[in-house]
């Protein structure tokens, strides 16, 4: 589904990604771990089409298409979803209005008919139960004044509503209390299916207790320094990154 080959990218003329190779197949969940500043968000943002990054080498193919050539909205319509590490606050944009607009934009792209407010509300309320968000959040401005954990839950809600093919979750588990973590995991597992793939950027083993990944990668200094199965995450939790990164930066 997703194939990243030798991806190099700069931010403000500084090379951050230094040759990433990663293959994610439909049905798989990959966890990406690694020290702060190693380029995890950079990778996720580039995949979602965020401005400010210059790809200098390499390619990314998504469902056989050149992902990097697509606009962010085209990627979203093609099923790519990024849960941001820092969800953006948008004063004046009503949360449910935004969600409905996004939902209908994606449906329109697929040639499906638009869903009206009433029907949409029914749909969204079901998903809200799953992530345990009060309906009062629907009529608030997008993320405005939301607590850290509420923002993360809102990202998961968006994901559940938009049902992406490829979900990239950038530290959606950071800053969550135990209950919220379970809720987020529940959301992720609810979406898990043979047609979908997910990439979870995380610092902690604890999310992976609830969401069992097929592969775990360590990103260090702009490269994938090590890959393994779920036991790698446990090992990292024990031993830290030094033993992995020592080899990577050489």
């Amino acid at each position: 589904m997703l194939s990243i080959k030798n991806l190099h990218a700069n931010v403000a003329d500084k090379e951050i990604l230094k040759g990433i190779n990663l293959d994610v197949k439909a049905g798989e969940i990959h966890a990406v771990m690694g020290p702060n500043g190693s380029g995890k968000s950079t990778l996720a943002n580039i995949l979602a089409g965020r401005d400010g990054y210059t790809v200098t080498q390499g390619s990314v193919s998504y469902q056989g298409q050149d992902l990097l050539a697509m606009d962010p909205e085209t990627r979203a319509c093609a099923g790519v979803f990024l849960a941001l590490q820092y969800p953006v606050e948008i004063p004046g944009v009503n949360n449910v209005y935004f969600l409905k607009a996004a939902y209908n934009a994606i449906r329109k792209h697929r040639g499906e008919e638009q869903v009206d407010a009433v029907k949409f509300l029914g749909l969204v309320k079901d998903k809200m139960k799953l992530v345990d968000i009060d309906t009062a959040f629907l009529n608030r401005a997008v993320n405005e004044g939301f607590s850290g954990g509420e923002k993360k839950r809102n990202e998961i809600l968006q994901m559940l509503v938009l049902e992406p093919r490829l979900a990239l979750l950038d530290e959606t588990d950071s800053g969550l209390d135990i209950d919220a973590l379970k809720v987020v995991a529940k959301g992720i597992n609810a979406l898990r299916s043979p047609e979908r793939a997910m990439v979870l950027v995380t610092h902690y083993q604890r999310l992976l207790d609830y969401v069992v990944p097929d592969c775990v990668h360590v990103l260090a200094a702009g490269r994938i320094a090590k890959s393994g199965d779920k036991s790698l995450a446990a090992e990292l939790e024990q031993r830290g990154y030094d033993w992995v990164t020592a080899g990577a930066s050489a």
Partner: protein, 443 residues
């Protein structure tokens, strides 16, 4: 509209015509002296500080005939988009400045509230009318106020005796319609609230396609102790319309004035809104939204005078400038020496979306008192890139994302309206100009 010969004093013909209509002596005299003042002062000189960015040359060049009999075929459907829907709304409709009873609401009168069309009041020679007209000296020798007084003929008197909570909103609709000859109208609105009165007032200035008239409105508002007025003025005139408005407000103790002024239409617009906080505890919320798109010129001058101790003002104006639009904001806050413990906040935010657009913003604080809390800030910016990406990453195309954020920028002001159904109506009106504004909550 025709160019006028340099020598003819502006509006002389119209004024001469008005002289032939029947009027009580005091009114004829009032008009004569006002017209003399207007002629003497003339239009504001280009050098005048307050008019630096709003050139009246185009306005001066145009010749407007006085409002004549309104088109009889105009139905409510034509102005439906301007109408506040409320089961008890008290509505008067004016077409090109002339009151048209047939278009008004037919709801039963509200106890304690008296709404009188000004032409009726003048015809009935209401004895106190003369006193109700605010002394013009307060108005800084403003030529447009003089012009409005010179042509005093129609408008509305809204009076609420003490101690009534009026739930029925009052709406005044001023419609500008297309004519072979452009016309000028000078509506005067006088609002007097007694003690402990609560009222909602909407002024809608609406233009039908093809209209190219001049509306020179003047609204005076007097709020007695502990009264509250929620005021929403929306200007959605046609592309060729000129609009000058003057709103003067005086507030007594603990009175509250919540003003929301939206400029979403017209070709050349100049508003002056002045509030005098005359007694302790008086407070004003002064909000505005202006949209300067196409070749539209919108100028908002506001002034708040904190005259005594313990008064408060909170002002937020937001403007969207695109295409070749030109917006001007000048917000003056004057804190008199006696006005200790004044609490004044003023914010002006502008979204400048095109290179050819222009915004001139100037906050002016004059503080003569110690021990006050005053803040002001003005910003000019573009759409937030992070927010744009966020919206696009969820599937919204770039244009839709831009429109949504532009609408949201204005909607933040609308969301400050506490009173329903006013907030909803304001949202609807906003959505007429900025379609991506979510007009309905949760939809």
């Amino acid at each position: 509209m025709n160019a006028v010969a340099e020598t003819a004093p502006p509006y002389a013909d119209s004024f001469a015509a008005l002289q032939h209509t029947r009027a009580p002596d005091w009114l004829a005299e009032l008009r004569r002296s006002a017209f003399a003042r207007f002629t003497e002062r003339g239009f504001p000189p280009e050098r005048a500080e307050d008019w630096k960015y709003s050139n009246t040359r185009a306005l001066q060049k145009l010749r407007f005939s006085p409002a004549t009999t309104p088109p009889t075929n105009l139905g409510t459907e034509a102005i439906a988009a301007a109408l506040l829907q409320h089961p008890q709304v008290q509505r008067l409709v004016f077409v090109d400045g002339v009151h048209v009873p047939a278009l008004g609401s037919k709801h039963a009168a509200v106890p304690g509230l008296r709404i009188t069309p000004l032409d009726t009041a003048l015809r009935e020679h209401r004895a106190d009318l003369r006193e109700l007209l605010l002394p013009e000296a307060r108005w800084d020798n403003d030529p447009f106020t003089a012009l409005n007084t010179a042509f005093l003929a129609d408008g509305a008197l809204i009076e609420a005796a003490g101690n009534v909570q009026v739930t029925a909103p009052v709406q005044l609709v001023f419609v500008s319609t297309p004519h072979t000859e452009a016309c000028a109208s000078h509506p005067r609105v006088m609002v007097t609230l007694g003690t402990n009165v609560k009222l909602t007032l909407v002024e809608s200035y609406f233009g039908l396609d093809g209209a190219a008239n001049f509306t020179n409105s003047c609204t005076q508002i007097a709020l007695a102790a502990n009264s509250r007025l929620d005021y929403f003025a929306v200007q959605r005139e046609a592309q060729g319309d000129f609009h000058v408005s003057r709103v003067y407000v005086s507030q007594r103790e603990r009175s509250r004035f919540a003003s929301h002024v939206y400029n979403l239409g017209g070709e050349w617009v100049r508003n002056d809104l002045r509030v005098r906080l005359e007694d302790a505890g008086a407070s004003v919320r002064m909000d505005g939204v202006y949209l300067a798109d196409r070749s539209r010129h919108v100028d908002n001058h506001t002034r708040i005078d904190h005259l005594v101790a313990y008064t408060a003002s909170d002002e937020l104006y937001r403007g969207i400038i695109r295409d070749r639009g030109h917006a001007v904001f000048n917000g003056k806050v004057v804190v008199a020496e006696a006005a200790i413990k004044t609490d004044a906040t003023q914010t002006n935010n502008n979204l400048l979306l095109t290179r050819n657009g222009e915004i001139d913003t100037k906050p002016e604080l004059e503080i003569y008192a110690d021990d006050v809390k005053c803040n002001h800030g003005a910003t000019i910016g573009q759409l937030d890139e992070q927010a744009l990406f966020y919206l696009r990453s969820r599937g919204l195309d770039l244009d839709t994302a831009r429109e949504l954020l532009t609408g949201a920028f204005a909607r933040v002001v609308t969301d400050r309206i506490a009173a329903e159904p006013l907030r909803r109506f304001a949202l609807e009106q906003l959505a007429s100009a900025l379609p991506q504004v979510a007009a309905e909550d949760g939809a």
